[in-house]
């Protein structure tokens, strides 16, 4: 069992009379995170490889002020509306989905190291998505014809769901999850999913290969309104369902049996959480590939700030996840401009050392 003792000493409440009550602090943090997200959105809309002025475009929308050169304004409008805005929205959706999925999985596995990327859920989703990309026009043609643009997110959802279910069965016995078993089973499942993905890649033609490589590294580059239309509703639905799990996940921190004693329908909670996480991760992987570490870094930072109460942790994770992914995307777009770095590389470079740092601090208690 892992213990987080980073904040030493008693926790003072906001009013002094409610010692140990962090809900006031959590509300303030959530408010600040809202402001942070607005800032990140504006920053993302106004920066990019082109010199298009989002300020002019936004001013045009809001106040009808047309700048001197109407032709330039039309081009700016196109860049902001058709390129940057969908990318920002997709970034927010994916960032929120990954961070909240991480927080929910950690609650479900009762373990702060659970993360969709680390324990193979993303790999399972990738397998589903790659299967559709490579086999969509041949073997799976009847399926893809039937579900249309939803084929990719659906396949990613199924891959993620299968992995999560297997992982949960393997790693959890009588309501107790072993850290070692979870991580090792995750490695095994990820390896298996990647091997199967490898077979598919082996079968892919040159054009598919190029798509796949870039997609696997993770990128928000191909964001279009059509993609948002296909995965947006899934992510929004999954995110909207998660807050209803918050109280149950809090009780689950005491163990499955005790959560049941408190009146929580534990089985239903677990399966809702697994399906929600698979849907959110599957949809994210389908549009943006493997973007790692968001799900572990964001909830961990927030737990240090506002504590582990999921009623605040889940919305705060959504906000911080969205903001961080926009910032990571801004870095990815500008650091090697005019070329673009896959965002998965940015999140991994920042997230992997962070993960190691968590392990170092808690080495005694993880104890593999």
């Amino acid at each position: 069992m892992m213990v987080d003792q980073s904040i030493a000493g008693p926790v003072k409440g906001m009013t002094g009379t409610s010692e140990g009550d962090r809900s006031g602090r959590a509300r303030i943090v959530i408010l600040l995170l809202c402001l942070g997200l607005v800032t990140a959105v504006l920053l993302s809309l106004t920066s990019g490889a082109s010199d298009a002025s989002a300020v002019n475009v936004i001013g045009d929308w809001l106040f009808g002020t047309v700048p001197d050169d109407a032709a330039l304004s039309a081009r700016d409008s196109l860049i902001v509306y058709d390129i940057r805005l969908p990318r920002v929205i997709l970034g927010m959706l994916v960032g929120a989905a990954l961070a909240v999925s991480g927080a929910v999985m950690q609650g479900l596995f009762r373990n702060p190291l659970a993360d969709p990327g680390l324990i193979g859920v993303s790999a399972g989703s990738s397998l589903g998505a790659v299967a559709v990309i490579v086999l969509g026009a041949t073997v799976l043609a009847p399926v893809t014809a039937w579900v249309g643009t939803l084929a990719l997110p659906l396949a990613a959802f199924c891959g993620g769901l299968a992995t999560t279910l297997v992982l949960y069965q393997v790693a959890t016995r009588r309501g107790q999850t072993s850290v070692a078993t979870m991580l090792l089973a995750g490695i095994a499942l990820a390896a298996l999913a990647m091997a199967l993905t490898g077979i598919l890649i082996f079968m892919a033609d040159d054009r598919q290969l190029r798509d796949l490589t870039f997609w696997q590294l993770g990128s928000l580059g191909g964001a279009t309104w059509a993609k948002i239309a296909s995965v947006g509703p899934i992510i929004v639905l999954a995110l909207a369902a998660m807050p209803f799990l918050a109280r149950g996940l809090n009780a689950l921190a005491l163990g499955e049996a005790t959560a049941g004693h408190l009146g929580i329908p534990v089985q239903r909670l677990k399966y809702t959480a697994i399906i929600g996480v698979s849907a959110a991760v599957g949809a994210s992987v389908a549009v943006s590939g493997g973007i790692g570490f968001v799900g572990i870094v964001v909830p961990h930072l927030l737990r240090l700030l506002i504590g582990p109460d999921n009623r605040y942790l889940l919305p705060a994770s959504a906000l911080l996840g969205a903001s961080l992914l926009l910032l990571a995307d801004a870095v990815a777009r500008t650091i090697v401009a005019p070329a673009e770095l896959p965002i998965g590389i940015v999140t991994a470079i920042a997230g992997a050392p962070f993960f190691l740092w968590i392990l170092l601090r808690k080495r005694g208690v993880v104890d593999l």
Partner: protein, 262 residues
């Protein structure tokens, strides 16, 4: 009233509890005693709806197996032997989890102060802001009891008695806190609720139990009041230990009994 008839429990094909009849009445403390591995905890888990069983259990006249977890939670609260937490919750946050079902039974608006009142009862006044994981085992156990008390704060709700299930509630406590916790249990029963407690200390059992259920190798070995049940013969048979009830130690060897508490 809780009535169990011919309850048997098997885990992974192995019989742990066989044909136990058990009754817990409102207003009484029912103690379950017996050696390690005699099936006490397993039986309590069946009573609390955690383990599947054969036989019949009725909670206030209703078949337990037909009740939903949320409904059962309004009528009984369970204190497990030990609880580890997976995240750094404060003591107040842990105690407040007892209110998650929303049937503490106090007036609306008083819920907010309940964690403090519950902590005060278990002698943890001022601990609300501490981190649960930083506390000693005995303190953690009392925090969990405070949480359990919050869940069924009023011993009677809507005319129905409610129950405390306590699995070794004093196992890691010093003698002062053993007495405090047992007094909380007795007080809960006197105010109309019922208590089912697994105990190891036969003196505390004699002192606080209205009725004793002795378990031995998964079966019920004896039932009755402390006076009826606690005999030399029974203790030797069940605990495999030749002890004599009510005999002072020889010579000037000191002995301290909880019964002597003022």
């Amino acid at each position: 009233m809780i009535e169990a008839r011919d309850v048997s429990v098997a885990i992974a094909g192995k019989r742990i509890v066989t044909g136990v009849d058990f009754t817990a009445r409102p207003g009484e403390v029912a103690a379950i005693v017996g050696p390690n591995g005699s099936g006490k905890t397993t039986f309590l888990k069946a009573l609390s709806g955690e383990l599947a069983y054969t036989g019949r259990v009725a909670l206030n006249g209703r078949d337990l197996s037909a009740m939903k977890p949320a409904e059962i939670a309004t009528q009984r609260a369970v204190l497990p032997q030990a609880t580890t937490l997976s995240f750094p919750f404060t003591v107040r946050e842990v105690v407040k989890l007892g209110l998650v079902g929303g049937h503490s039974g106090v007036l609306p608006g008083e819920d907010a102060r309940l964690p403090e009142r519950a902590l005060e009862r278990v002698d943890l006044d001022g601990f609300a802001g501490r981190f649960y994981q930083e506390l000693s085992g005995g303190e953690q156990q009392r925090v969990q009891l405070a949480r359990v008390l919050c869940q069924v704060w009023a011993p009677v709700l809507d005319g129905k008695p409610r129950y405390l299930f306590l699995d070794e509630p004093v196992s890691s406590l010093d003698i002062k806190h053993q007495l405090i916790i047992m007094n909380i249990a007795r007080d809960f029963a006197r105010r109309g609720g019922g208590v089912v407690a697994i105990l190891h200390d036969l003196n505390l059992t004699a002192m606080f139990a209205d009725r004793i259920f002795v378990m031995h190798r998964g079966r019920l070995a004896a039932t009755g009041s402390p006076q009826d049940v606690l005999s030399d013969d029974l203790i030797e048979k069940v605990f495999d230990c030749r002890l004599r009830v009510g005999v002072l130690p020889a010579g000037n060897m000191p002995f301290v009994l909880p019964q002597s508490a003022a």
